[in-house]
Amino acid sequence: MRLACQTIGSEELTSTLKPLTATDSHRLGLLTSLDGRQLVALVLDLKGRTAGLVRCELDQCHYSSLTPLIPQAHWFERALKDLFGITPAGHPRLKSNFVPEAFEATLAPLRSAGDRGKLAGEPPRDFRFLRVGGEGVYEVPVGPIHAGVIEPAHFRLSCLGEFICNLELRLGFLHRGVERRLTEVSWPNARFVAEAASSDTAAGNALAHAIAMESLLEVEVSPRARHLRTLALEVERIAMHIADIGGLGVDLGFLGVAAGLSRLRGAAVGLADLLSGSRFMRGYICPGGVTLAEGGRLSQLRAQAQKLRRDVRGFVQMFLDNASVQERLTDTGKVSRGLARDFGLVGVAARASGIAYDARQHFLHGDYPPLAPAPAVERGGDALDRTRVRARELETSFSILEAVLDEEFAGECAVALPQALPANEAACGIVEAFRGELIHLIFTDARGRISRYAIKDPSFNNWTGMAIAARNNLIADFPVANKSFALSYSGHDL
């Protein structure tokens, strides 16, 4: 949607944002900057189903941190320091989100081209781990290269006996410079870069990108494209929820079900292939619609989805009914509702902790909100509840698939786009990807080029949740807790 902007002075920042983010009806969607000379906050109004920008010019490289009063700003402010060299003075835990090697310590890669290198006397990024003192506390370093076939990150666990006192995350190994690259390529090619932010969420990323671009270009897609996009988004959710439950099965040693689910994930990926010609739906959703006509394959899709639904239901039930699975997952990696709300967790992790937030109910994407399901909410906030949320969402996703397949597919796959983007505009796309709320925010400059492209992956909010969840768990349960969040490393590192 196009975004209106409210400009305020830096002294009003907290007083303006605090009431806007302290209620259940508003969220801080993003807090960032355009080129290092201002702060821009994207505030989501869930009740009003809209979003707006709050902007504040900075004449220095620092401002007084919002985190003490608005904890949702916690991770964003760290990123401001890393990427723009802006110091949030008074931030309670300011340290870099990225490994030192990801880019030079003195570089602020997203500042305007002129002053990227020099940080105007500001202290460079800080990487110190929080040290837990006291007798008998020892540290367990894990990663960056993990034992399985997963993305890299470094975890440092401070433990006392078998218990984890503190988990320090060091991310950023996968920093590729996606956000800056998105301002360098021509806008019709931006979709390929936007997808590669995290290709396990290719449909989600492409959809958020497409919605933002379409609002800038003022085009509306056909009902057919809308339906096909909804199918793509739900097929992705199905495939990844199956993969995440299966992955948990591997970590618990419940290999029969894990192997079964991995072949069902293969079937779900087959649905994606059938729909889009790509197992990850790469390049499928584009601004204006979708790139491939369904060409009579929808009945096949329906039949395969029905069979898959039965099989998945059986396996997931087997998994959840198993006494040792329940025993192992209950109370593992717990996040209370209060903390989940304060830190603004999203998606599966938030709903497992009792927060009824599902972006499908609030923001326009695909056939949502009209077709939006009720959020699958659980109360406990532990690994078991996260799995239950996934299990319930699998069911609703299959129902949505069927509902969409009953619709009439009218109109063309993709509408033609205007040649140029409007000047000095801002728009965002908000999508409920399988991990949760995913935001793409685009600004154009006076010449109608993309001047700033910000991506907020759901994992960006939820890594804080992971760090909270690990505390007071058995160290042996750490992989299980981590897997139950199943966060994206590349989506965070960009």
């Binding site: 890299p152 932010a197 010609g277």
Partner: protein
Amino acid sequence: MLKLLFYLIKNGCLTQRKICPSLDEPALGLPRLVPGKNWTEQAARRCAEACPTQAITAGDRGGESPSASPALTLDLGKCIGCMLCLKVCPSGFIVADRSTRTATTRREDLVLSPRSLPGPQEALPQKEAAGGLFGKSISVRVVSTGCSACDLEVAAAFNPIFDAERFGIHLTASPRMADVLLVTGPAGRGMHEPLKRAYEAMPEPRIVIAAGTCAISGGVHAGNYSQADGVGAVLPVDIFIPGCPPHPWSIIHGIMEAMRLPLDRARPGSSLNAP
């Protein structure tokens, strides 16, 4: 448990029998040039302009005979398989290639020109693989530096459908036990040191596979400040698997190519100290 058994018995074996088959429509595959066609400069330029990753270059023939330099080259090592070139090509000289036998042992083999011959379409794996140094079995350590779709496809290669284990391919958790370092993703600055350390920890001879367009060339990230220009900038690469992401069969094909490598290609004693 019984339920699980019943399900497995009812559904039977889902493992694909045919090894590295070509994909069915609507799978897009990768672009291929129809051999021996005469490209006009204009057509070549149009395709080159359409490509989002500069995988296609329109050659400048400069008045020489057509045989001097190819009118156009298509570098699968940079291609993300978006098929835009196929759509805009006015002469239809670019077609979809749904073969999954896409891995090569030389980087230059990925650069197609109208003169290059189509890749191997015939069956080769398994038996022929037995000839190489790691012909009977091979241990693979996967290091991810990318966007996780490549990793999911590597993981899928070991699921019951593709079942790479039946060819003697094993995943190992430690580089100390690995014959192959299979790297996905563009390997930005943050991963340079971990990659080098993993490589140095491997026993010799050792093989490096770059799986996916990013790993080969950096893909859409090439040239960024993060120096995410592919694995080749950090480690010597022996096998290249194009695709964004490559199909699980292509990944298996790449690993089988590694099994077929003769001893002298498997870089005995190669060290990072002199790259």
